[in-house]
């Protein structure tokens, strides 16, 4: 490798269509922020849709936000109008469910997103941690084979929407060739594409080919922080989706974003100047995660 070979390091993913059959939640609730309110100090959800919460939640339920699944919480008390949890639910704050902050930025404040809560009964908590991959159109999984198990999974939504800034669930146990147990509850809809990957495996893509990448930095409603978008247009197709990789902080402000921008540009500048021996820029979650 010589110093004209500069690379962008991207996590290596492959996609699998996911299957939640057998691991569905026992109950669901669609929050409407026009009617419902979340109290972040007391971790209570007060309903205003005229739905009796006792028909949705039970004490002991494991509950999490579909769109922001970490952290999860357990129901400690439920009445017809108020359900109380033992901790915060991922993504919910005093504004309801808003991703990112817009401090100092032009444009209106974001409108809270309506979200869905999943509840798993006390005897069914395990189901929240399990899911399978199955598809008649994909290669059979071989998770039990030596070296065949993924280390983490991640949503992939089949569009240009950036991934949410939630930790990758870690695989803690391989149940069978197509089923894994994760370290945190995780939900997918059948047929969703899920990225799976192994630690330490990255793909190196040449920086010097201008047609391959443009780099977006910043904030969005989906709180992307750094977004690498492939622009290669071979055969009128984008690169495979796992080539676009997003790292985001939770509610980063603009100052935090600027620091990351500076750090990243400095790294690229250093690479171009030949100041580094390793010749590549690596996305590092530990650097970018907490701002």
């Amino acid at each position: 490798m010589n110093n004209t070979d500069l690379y962008l390091g991207l996590k290596q993913h492959i996609t699998f269509p996911a299957d939640n059959t057998g691991y569905e939640p026992d109950s669901e609730y669609d929050i409407s922020w026009e009617d419902d309110t979340w109290d972040p100090e007391n971790n209570t959800l007060t309903g205003g849709q005229g739905i009796d919460f006792t028909t949705i939640f039970q004490v002991g339920d494991l509950v999490f936000n579909e769109d922001w699944y970490a952290p999860h919480a357990f129901v400690t008390e439920v009445t017809s109008e108020v359900v109380t949890f033992d901790g915060p639910l991922g993504g919910l704050n005093e504004n309801g469910f808003c991703l990112g902050t817009y401090d100092g930025l032009p444009g209106p404040d974001p409108t809270p997103l309506d979200v869905r809560l999943f509840a798993y009964r006390a005897g069914n908590h395990e189901a929240a941690y399990l899911f399978s991959f199955a598809s008649s159109t994909s290669e059979p999984c071989r998770f039990t084979a030596k070296g065949g198990a993924p280390d983490y999974v991640k949503y992939w939504w089949n569009n240009d929407t950036a991934l949410l800034p939630i930790p990758d669930p870690r695989v803690v146990e391989v149940i069978d060739d197509a089923t894994v147990r994760l370290d945190i509850p995780f939900h997918i809809e059948n047929g969703n594409d899920v990225l799976i990957g192994q630690d330490g495996v990255v793909q190196r893509a040449p920086l010097k080919d201008k047609r391959y990448f443009q780099f977006y930095y910043g904030l969005s409603y989906w709180t992307m922080d750094i977004y690498v978008k492939s622009l290669r247009n071979v055969g009128a197709a984008w690169w495979e989706p796992w080539d676009a990789y997003v790292i985001s902080p939770y509610n980063a402000n603009l100052d935090q974003a600027k620091k990351r921008i500076d750090k990243w540009c400095g790294r690229i500048d250093g690479l171009i100047s030949g100041n580094y021996a390793d010749n590549w820029v690596e996305f590092d979650e530990d650097v970018f995660w907490n701002g």
């Binding site: 930025l105 444009g107 409108t111 047609r211 969005s220 409603y221 247009n233 540009c265 690229i268 171009i272």
Partner: protein
């Protein structure tokens, strides 16, 4: 030193690189790092019969079969003159004359750039 690589950093001059709208799916892009390594020329894009609504950065190394490849950055409003194209051309020239691989223009563009709708395309 790698003279083959040049990046143009389009950044946060008080909101001169913005997203298209503030709606739920609007993307905010305070910084866009354009790879301008192989830039051939810059022009306005859009329909000349109506409004010129974008900048196109064409690349020397084009698509197969003689097609040309460009990155298009939309403008927030229509542009009747060529000031923004001249600005972009100057920044690209400055970038290649600078020692830095990542060039940060010292002046803001004369019209808002819409970094949300940047895309690449090929043309005849």
């Amino acid at each position: 030193m790698n003279p083959q690589l040049k990046f143009l950093r389009l950044d946060y001059w008080g909101g001169h690189l913005v997203y298209e709208d503030g709606g739920p799916n609007g993307v905010y892009v305070p910084c866009l790092l354009l790879n301008i390594t192989d830039t051939l020329f810059v022009s306005l894009g859009g329909n000349e019969q109506t409004a010129l609504d974008s900048i196109r950065i064409y690349f020397r190394d084009g698509y197969p079969n003689g097609l040309t490849q460009y990155v298009q950055i939309s403008l927030v409003g229509p542009q009747v003159g060529t000031e923004v194209v001249q600005w972009m051309q100057e920044q690209i020239s400055n970038a290649f004359e600078s020692d830095s691989g990542v060039y940060y223009p010292p002046t803001q563009p004369p019209i808002l750039l819409n970094g949300d709708t940047l895309y690449i395309n090929v043309t005849q």
